[in-house]
């Protein structure tokens, strides 16, 4: 029973990281209708920035988080402006390939700057843990902070998209870009804003990911990025609560497979879930089904 609870906690914590990353995918997809495969690598950049700020500049952890958010936000906006904006009218395949190119570019740039040697990331929230039931159930502080951050981000983002002007503009763009433009919404600015928010979330995800799983290499963001993309599709791409649900379910599935079946199968099962969901519910668990008119 305690093993079950321990695994559940690990799963929810891992899933929360996936959910935060999945938000970045889902928002960008919802508004720009593109898959930003470089998103996972922005996570890696965020983690490296935080690592460098604490290790080389000896600044406190919270400063490093803010610094990582600022750098990643700028990076996201620059990537969007340089790589994706000129392709706004191009086919979706061109944008997809560009995104993959940006992803490799970031990985190789990181390898040049920080070398490929593993760096051990020190948790920004300390390494403590809370023991429950006479020490039978242990919850790390990093896990608690991750789940809390995920919930706060979800609530804040929901409020942002429903109450603020910019949030409403985003939803308008995701409904119909042309109509939004006719209504006086600056679509380009809205898309840049989306990338900025998505990349800021990526920075937070990077720091949280590395606080729980401590090694940092230039490909750190690649696998979590792909899994979070799976989570976004699982929950229904374009939907914010879908990203949360998809992320947490995926995290739980992964940890449980790891624990009860085998560690080799965990990836196969995670991606197996994606295939099954796409077969049964092509729009994901909470996604809207939009029939395409021919």
């Amino acid at each position: 029973m305690m093993t079950f609870l321990t695994n559940l906690v690990s799963g929810i914590s891992l899933g929360s990281v996936y959910a935060i990353i999945a938000l970045g995918y889902t928002m960008v997809y919802g508004i720009a209708k593109m898959l930003n495969f470089a998103h996972g690598d922005v996570i890696m950049v965020g983690a490296y920035i935080s690592f460098c700020t604490t290790s080389y500049l000896a600044l406190p952890a919270w400063v490093s988080v803010i610094f990582a958010i600022v750098v990643c936000t700028a990076l996201g906006v620059v990537i969007e402006g340089l790589a994706y904006k000129p392709l706004r009218q191009a086919g979706s395949l061109a944008v997809l390939i560009t995104a993959i190119g940006v992803s490799y570019f970031l990985q190789n740039a990181a390898q040049l700057i920080w070398t490929s040697n593993t760096k051990v990331f020190t948790s920004v929230v300390g390494s403590g843990s809370i023991k429950l039931f006479n020490g039978q159930l242990t919850i790390t502080v990093a896990a608690l902070v991750t789940v809390a951050a995920c919930i706060i981000i979800m609530v804040a983002l929901t409020l942002f998209t429903t109450t603020t002007k910019m949030g409403k503009a985003m939803r308008a763009c995701s409904e119909d870009k042309g109509a939004a433009q006719l209504m006086g919404i600056n679509v380009n600015r809205t898309i840049s804003m989306t990338f900025a928010i998505g990349s800021a979330l990526a920075a937070i995800a990077g720091v949280l990911l590395c606080s729980s799983y401590n090694t940092l290499i230039p490909t750190t963001g690649a696998m979590p990025g792909i899994k979070a993309f799976t989570a976004a599709v699982f929950g229904g791409i374009g939907s914010i609560p879908g990203a949360l649900l998809g992320g947490i379910l995926l995290g739980i599935i992964e940890v449980f497979t790891n624990s009860y079946l085998s560690s080799e199968l965990s990836l196969a099962i995670v991606f197996g879930v994606l295939i099954v969901v796409l077969l049964v519910r092509p729009s994901g668990l909470l996604g809207k089904y939009v029939p395409e008119k021919v």
Binding site: T6, N7, A83, P86, V102, F105, N108, N214, T215, T220
Partner: protein, 407 residues
């Protein structure tokens, strides 16, 4: 519209170019730049080659190991150790060595590419590979071509099995596992042991099997056996929780230091207290950037490198002067490899005019000769059997105050 398409094409082109540029520059970094202190060792050999054709012979040695990637620490250490030995050997006069080190990123495919490059270069003896997986792939090629191969650290039996041209300087994986089990039971370090190993890796699996067999006979109880699929795995919560819930006192880690560092950190975050026993793959954990070495306090590591001897002290000094870091056992393995080759080349009268196949047969005869033994940093009286395995005693150290202490 046309203009936009053109712009899109250009941009996509620029991206691809960026991608290629990234690749090529990472490939460049595999060949150490001239400023790298490690590459200096090869320079005297090269100039000696040009300047004094009359004196002595220059033997071309090809080296393969991971110089970049997650296992780079091992490959760089074996290269560096070898270069220090070569500098000493070349200073003696007589036989001169020239080492050409290639990067395989611990990957078999890249290892074979590196091997082909070295064959084009005119390699006479192959020194490598550093890691078992890549070494097994390269050994198949070198066996077919008849190139003599001495690996500093590829400890899997798959490297030497059926390859009479391949010799190891380190002891084999099953042997490490058995030694570890014997030590744990002899010193009563634990009765309930958990094992976490990488089941996609020959090295890790080999040690585990040797350990398991020996443990059964010694009354050591393996309460939890969990695996992970690759060295980049970062989440060990399931494995650690399993070990804890089954009451393990000690975790046996026949794995490399990167995943091991994650296990140490995550167990400490969860507040679980285990003692740990690692094999030579753990060597390097103390120099991992950002790693809190206090977490590795009291960890046992099986290593053949006795740092207390005079020869070792002189080696450590030279290594530190060249790199600014402490040498680990991989560096010592590399150093010993060069001396083993030096002794063997002297005995077999190898000259620079000999082709690799001729060198191979001559060296095999010397290495398997019962009268041939080498004293080195990683053991004295090292001898080799026809199966390519070395006979020497392993040493067990414990990490105390961030340094190895002999047990």
């Amino acid at each position: 519209m046309k203009k936009k398409n053109l712009a899109a094409l250009l941009l996509a082109g620029a991206m691809c170019f960026g991608l290629l540029a990234g690749c090529s520059s990472s490939a460049d970094s595999t060949n150490p730049p001239a400023s790298d202190p490690g590459s200096q060792a090869t320079q005297p050999a090269e100039t000696g080659d040009v300047g004094g054709t009359g004196e002595g012979v220059t033997i071309k040695i090809g080296g393969i190991g991971p110089l970049t990637g997650p296992n780079a620490q091992y490959g760089i250490a074996t290269r560096q150790g070898a270069e220090i030995a070569i500098e000493e050997i070349n200073a003696l006069g007589g036989i001169q060595f020239e080492l050409n080190s290639q990067d395989d990123e611990a990957n078999g495919e890249k290892g074979v590419n590196a091997y082909n490059n070295l064959m084009d270069w005119g390699m006479q003896i192959l020194y490598g590979c550093t890691t078992s997986g890549s070494c097994a792939a390269v050994a198949a090629e070198s066996y077919n071509d008849r190139v003599f191969q001495l690996t500093p650290s590829a400890s899997s039996t798959t490297v030497t099995d059926g390859h009479d041209n391949v010799f190891q300087l380190c002891f084999t994986d099953p042997n490490q596992g058995k030694t570890a089990a014997n030590f744990i039971s002899e010193h009563k370090l634990a009765t309930k042991v958990a094992v976490i190993y990488n089941n996609s890796d020959d090295y890790s699996t080999g040690i585990y099997q040797g350990f398991k067999e020996a443990a059964e006979g010694l009354g050591l109880e393996i309460v939890s056996t969990t695996t992970f699929p690759e060295d980049t795995t970062t989440d060990f919560s399931a494995q650690i929780t399993d070990a804890y819930n089954k009451g393990a006192e000690m975790i046996f880690l026949p794995i490399y230091y990167t995943p091991a560092s994650n296990i140490l950190i995550q167990a400490s975050q969860k507040g679980y207290e285990f003692s740990y026993f690692g094999c030579d793959g753990l060597d390097g954990i103390l120099t991992l950037e950002g790693f809190d070495t206090s977490l590795a306090e009291n960890v046992y590591v099986l290593t053949p490198f006795d740092t207390t001897s005079d020869a070792a002290k002189s080696f450590i000094e030279k290594y530190k002067a060249a790199t600014g870091t402490e040498p680990n056992q991989f560096a010592a393995d590399g150093y010993d490899c060069m001396y083993a080759l030096y002794e063997a080349c002297k005995k077999a009268n190898i000259t620079d005019g000999m082709g690799y196949a001729e060198v191979c047969e001559a060296l095999i005869a010397v290495f398997t000769d019962s009268g041939f033994s080498v004293d080195g940093l990683t053991g004295s009286g090292m001898q080799w059997g026809t199966n390519g395995e070395v006979a020497k005693d392993p040493l067990i150290v414990q990490i105390v105050n961030g340094a190895y202490v002999n047990q």
